[in-house]
Symmetry: D3
Subunit: 144 residues, 6 copies
């Protein structure tokens, strides 16, 4: 694990995305009309994602445990694709990129788990960092 004892606290913000692709318009409708048998997909997956962000350092050996001072989770629906946007903020010595990416992956997996009984063709695509600020180098994904 990298030594960060000498680093300063600064505001760190990272946004990551994951894309969930379903195989039919009916799946999108079932989510939006809250008719998925396992429950409200967006709300339950957000709850899972909020917890997931906080558990990142529990799962990744080299990841520093850190205060999570904000997590926001949003969904955008485009045709058969649902884009999950997870933004994490902290004031600490190291960034929250991996936390945001882990949160996005847990939201996506939970959607998969809840949708599995009604759609066998759900896939998860493009888990990636969209933006980060704070630390040595800001970053902005070119394709966004």
């Amino acid at each position: 694990m990298v030594d960060i004892t000498h680093k300063n606290n600064t505001l760190r913000i990272a946004t990551a995305q994951a894309v969930v692709k379903v195989s039919s318009e009916d799946t999108i409708k079932a989510i939006q009309e809250n008719k998925v048998p396992k429950g409200d997909v967006f709300s339950a997956s957000k709850a899972a994602g909020l917890l997931g962000v906080k558990k990142t350092s529990d799962l990744l050996p080299d990841c520093h445990p850190m205060p999570i001072e904000y997590t926001g989770i949003e969904y955008e629906v485009n045709g058969l694709e649902i884009t999950i946007l997870v933004t994490v903020k902290t004031i600490y010595k190291t960034g929250v990129e991996v936390e945001a990416m882990h949160g996005a992956s847990i939201v996506a997996l939970n959607m998969y788990d809840m949708l599995k009984p009604i759609d066998k063709g759900v896939e998860i695509h493009h888990i990636k960092l969209l933006q980060k600020t704070g630390g040595k180098s800001d970053y902005k994904d070119n394709f966004t």
Copy 2:
């Protein structure tokens, strides 16, 4: 959470994949020659993935806790893409698809976390189920 009290134990096998795409041949070399500063990427990420599979029901609300009787993790390198294959087996009343997919996502995220200091362009693609056997319906992804 779906009621599975009436279901029978059968052998369940699921294989999921995740694809990690790096931005340079140097990253692939650093992994293969074990020169990544944070340590042995394949071995440490396998350890994280083995733990991740077992923690799936801790993170996903509707997922049943279950015995995990085998987890195998393999890597295939093709150009700038590393394909992670996670196979999970159990003899239980419900399948291990989500466990395999969660394992694959944790292996991929750990690779991202370990490679971040040497490659800013790592992305995670195509977390999906490749195959499952046992339960009501077998499944085989068409594109594999």
Copy 3:
């Protein structure tokens, strides 16, 4: 921890309740109209409770880890009181009473946590077992 190696697997069902009492009709309305700033209180608290049931043996030293084969969570609103009903099922050597009670307490605490910014007077009452079947002795609470 009690030795259960000699016991037989039987179907075990337990239902527990917790009562959340809010201090104003506005709080009830905000929940029902999904206007609580932290999000959908019933859906997010159900997600927390589903996870909480599965983590019971992680928190209580003498509690056996066990398969959780069903968890159902329901809400009943009566005036300023919201009754949470958590039903857990398993086929195992020991009962799921404590799991149901822990689930009910986590749902209640999560409601408290989400409602705190809009209602300072929320209290949690009467976490108790309502009913259990399976094992040596069935049980039915007199007051229900």
Copy 4:
């Protein structure tokens, strides 16, 4: 999750209570004379509660992870009622009310779990915040 990046660290103290009601004087005696078969109820439940306080943000999606700089757990016996008092302190940007309440609920549940074999009528009552200091508004429960 509420954004707390802009808030200042201040000393936060919260005290919560839970009331465990047993159904017989024999149960109280068994606890006090350390004759409960599962072991020392007060000491083991305190250990569970100390861990429970620290795991609050693991269980409640919107709860910020935070340093826990003090937890004290005390018991008061009045007739058939045992009042559990949990006090938590931290110097951080947000309060520890939910942590104190979660600790109190875990102590109570652990007492229930340890007493179950000798008393089928144990109930948990009145999990509530008694007092908090620090943050925008102090709070003192009227009925204490």
Copy 5:
């Protein structure tokens, strides 16, 4: 992780020990007279050990998650040495040796943690398997 899908359930029992060595008779007295400031060392460390046994597969990547159907924890005091004996039982496809050893190590570490303020010379010795039955080969340590 080794594939155990083809193995049969049998009764598995393992006993492990850890030895905690303190540096002064006063420490032993403080434990036995329950005067250690952090609380009842034997009872709290037993609670930690009961939880520790159940979390073994959470910490060790290759370890199978399994039902823990009994854990017993005992202490023997000889001069400045306290021997911790942890016995674990299950009926499952693989043994509980590592679970017993992990439990013993957690009991020992918790004793260290509670005794640290009154004795700077506490050490942990000889965490080892004493006995196991069930599975392909029974085992009995020669030196016990």
Copy 6:
């Protein structure tokens, strides 16, 4: 749990060791030549230890949760003995001795778990603090 609200943040460093003793030179060779069937023992055990350090306060009731700002894990082989050295750093109000000792014990247990199929005589010896700096009193073990 000791009240640390009044204490100052200082740099804290602790190094602990655990000694793993195998029963044959072949075991040492299998580790060094990476021929242990369960995988790369040093690398996987390091991953487990990095996670273990971070989970210390999850397992020990009185242990404060704290930022872990560095963990280093090294191995020294001498004949049949492998010495594990775990160094932990933080800038916080209380020390990281128990975290370093817990990390060392998890590395040792994971080595035991991975080596068990090829060597039935593995034991864990001498988990102890070697050195700590920061806080009221520095400490240096005499026998090192």
